[in-house]
Assembly symmetry: C2
């Protein structure tokens, strides 16, 4: 598949990019916001394109034309204000969905946040972030796209174990970013994950087994 | 109709309340957040109930049980932060929709903001407000409710003229809050407004004519 990665500069996005380099099934194009990022990727042999989640849907659609799937791992990050959370994590995400629909990219894998679908489980200090993720996810579920919504628990920078637990609702837990990226890539062309949303933490099953059990 | 008013303490909400007092077709219940507000309304003979848009959907559903229509005029206001905009104008609004669905209140009239549906026309300084209104409106359009979305232009405190212009898209314009409230009330049981969203500014037509021309 020809993948279109939004959020390549983020930590999960970077993991996806690194893993795809070693994967013969897929090719990837990274969307970046700045000319210097574009050059950095191109210099290292990574296909990249300039576009901005704060820009127009038309520009985003043009950037992703010809792709088979969008992987959305972007986030405004913890150091920006609530305005950026709204504009990137919610409106930016939905613009990416609209762009995918417009440009005929039918597959969309969203990296969300654990329990984003259950208001009662939102961390009190992160409510604006959860509101943004919650509605981005619901807009994706209401879209025409073949979606998968992956909701990882606390993200770790440890090496991945390849062992996970996935389900509609899981208790608190954590997972290495490397394993989130692994699952996202395995999910891409696995029909078991189509139109599904699930929490994801480290667990006992291999990623393949976990997906089969969905 | 038995109306359930969310945002009674706001300026448009207060206009709706005052106008309904003189309207024999409808009765109204005002949702308020504080005990002192409850007492103020009850002392003046207005039916009121305590509930909070930051509370649970179940509590909101209980508060609106037995009503025929929800009028949503609430807003976090210009003096609160972007977090409240998200939690009230977006998540609070959608919780009210879910509560209406749960409690069998089928009719929902939303007061939105002019051009909230067109990103390119959002005021740059008010983008977070427009993102919140935009997605609240889209969630309502995706709901099972018989909705009407009224998107007024610049709101004035002048007396109403009763003359308006409504259309899917209008250029810039203003309108007295009194006329917004009048239109909302006339729209309630007028099928021409069902499943419709429109901009609203002062104009040349009576409210009845404008609604008929939809």
């Amino acid at each position: 598949m020809k993948l279109f990665l939004i959020g390549a500069n983020g930590q999960i996005g970077n993991q996806v990019l690194e893993q795809i380099k070693a994967n013969e099934k897929h090719s990837i194009k990274a969307m970046v916001r700045k000319q210097e990022q574009l050059e950095k990727y191109q210099d290292s042999g990574v296909d990249a394109v300039l576009a901005d989640l704060e820009g127009s849907v038309a520009d985003l659609a043009k950037a992703m034309e010809g792709s088979d799937a969008v992987i959305f791992t972007a986030g405004s990050g913890g150091n920006t204000g609530d305005d950026k959370t709204l504009l990137i994590d919610l409106d930016g995400a939905v613009k990416a969905m609209e762009a995918a629909e417009q440009s005929g990219v039918n597959r969309f894998v969203m990296v969300s946040a654990m329990q984003a679908h259950n208001r009662e489980n939102w961390h009190k200090d992160l409510r604006t972030y959860y509101v943004a993720k919650h509605y981005a996810d619901r807009m994706l579920q209401n879209s025409k796209l073949t979606y998968t919504i992956v909701r990882p628990g606390l993200l770790l920078n440890e090496p991945g174990t390849g062992k996970v637990s996935i389900a509609e609702n899981l208790g608190q837990g954590s997972i290495p970013r490397e394993d989130v990226a692994k699952l996202v890539i395995k999910a891409l062309d696995n029909e078991k994950t189509y139109y599904r949303s699930f929490d994801l933490i480290s667990g006992e099953q291999s990623i393949e087994q976990a997906i089969e059990s969905l």
